[in-house]
Subunit: 164 residues, 2 copies
DNA sequence: TCGATGGCTGTTATCATATAACAATTCCCT
DNA sequence: AGGGAATTGTTATATGATAACAGCCATCGA
C-alpha cells in the first residue's frame, strides 16, 4: 500500500493515494447502486483523472494510456469513458479549460463549482456555499428553470499568492 | 432608420435595431476613452455579434462575413477582432458554448454572468445579483484571489417553459 | 450449451474550435 | 514624405470532440 505524500500537489501535501482509493471505492458504490458497470477502462480513466487535483484534458489521458499500453487508444475510447463518468457524477468537466477533474463527493448529485488557480492549476471544488442559493434566487426571480450550473472562478490560490 | 421589431428574438419582441445601435455607440465611447481604435472590421464583428441575443460561434461570424463579402476571411481575422472586443469589455465569451455575445453594459468592467436557455438559445446577462458577493465571500474565506468569474447557468427560460 | 441480445470497445474518418508564424498593409506622427 | 507601430491577410497547423460502423463479450433465457 502506497501511503507516500503526493508529488502531484506540492502546495497542499497530503496522502494522495488515499484520495485515489477513496474515489475508486466511492465510484464502485455509485455504480453498484445505479446498476451501471464500472469496467476496467472506465476505472482506469477515473484513476488517471484522479492522478492529481488538476483538471486534465482528454488528450492528456490518451497520452498517458498510450504510454502505459503499447497501443494508443483512439479519442472516442476516452471520451466515452468520460461521458459515462460524468453521467454518474464521478467527474466534472471544466468548460473554461476543456478539461476534466474527479468529483470530490459523487454520493449526492450536485453542480460542480470550482476555484481554479492559474499558476499551479489546482482546482478546488466548492460545496455548500452561498453561490448555489444565490443562483437559485436569481433564477427564480427571472422565472428561469435551472438545469446546470457552470461556475469556474479563476485566480490565484492562497499558496501561489504567497509565493509571488 | 430601421425600427422594425427584431425577428431574431421572437420570445421577447423589442426594437432590436436599438440594441445594436446602442451597443455600437457605447463601443465608440469605450474605445475613445481607452485610446483604442474601433476599426471597420472590429465594428463589423461587434455588429454581427449583436445580431441577436444568442451567443454566436467564431465560425458563424466567419460564415456571415463570407456571405457579405466575396472573399472569406481566415479564422485569425475574426479571432483577433473578438480578442480586441473582449479586452475592452465589449463582448463576453461563453465557455460552455465556445461562443461570443455582446456585453450589455460595457461602460463599467464586470464579470459576465449568464442565464442561457437550451431551447431558444437566448443568453440573458445578469448584473448586480447576489452571485458576485457570494463568490467574493467564498473566495475570501479560502484565501483565493479572484481574477475572473465564469458563471453560465443553463436551463429553460420562462417563455420556453410555457411553450412546453 | 447454445445462441440471441444489448452494452461496451475498437477503428476510421472527419468536424469544430483556436492559434502560431510571418508577410503585407495601413495608420499616424513627425 | 518617411519611419515605426498597429492592424490585417495568409498559410499552415494545433487542439478538442464526435459520427458512423464494425467487432467483441458478458449475460441470460431456452
Amino acid at each position: 500500500m502506497n501511503t507516500s505524500v503526493s508529488l502531484e500537489d506540492p502546495h497542499c501535501p497530503h496522502d494522495h493515494s488515499q484520495c485515489v482509493s477513496d474515489a475508486l471505492a466511492a465510484a464502485e458504490q455509485v455504480c453498484e447502486r445505479a446498476g451501471a458497470r464500472l469496467t476496467a477502462l472506465r476505472k482506469r480513466v477515473l484513476e488517471l483523472v484522479w492522478q492529481s487535483h488538476r483538471p486534465l484534458g482528454a488528450y492528456d489521458l490518451l497520452d498517458t494510456l498510450a504510454r502505459e499500453d503499447d497501443r494508443r487508444p483512439a479519442p472516442p475510447t476516452v471520451y466515452r469513458a468520460l461521458d459515462f463518468l460524468q453521467e454518474h457524477g464521478l467527474v466534472h468537466r471544466i468548460a473554461s479549460l476543456n478539461a476534466f477533474i474527479g468529483c470530490a463527493s459523487p454520493e449526492h448529485t450536485h453542480q460542480g463549482h470550482f476555484l481554479i488557480c492559474r499558476n499551479c492549476r489546482v482546482a478546488i471544488e466548492l460545496e455548500q456555499t452561498l453561490i448555489h442559493p444565490a443562483i437559485a434566487e436569481v433564477a427564480q426571480r427571472m422565472g428561469f428553470a435551472v438545469e446546470s450550473e457552470t461556475v469556474e472562478i479563476a485566480g490565484l490560490c492562497a499558496h501561489c499568492q504567497e509565493a509571488a
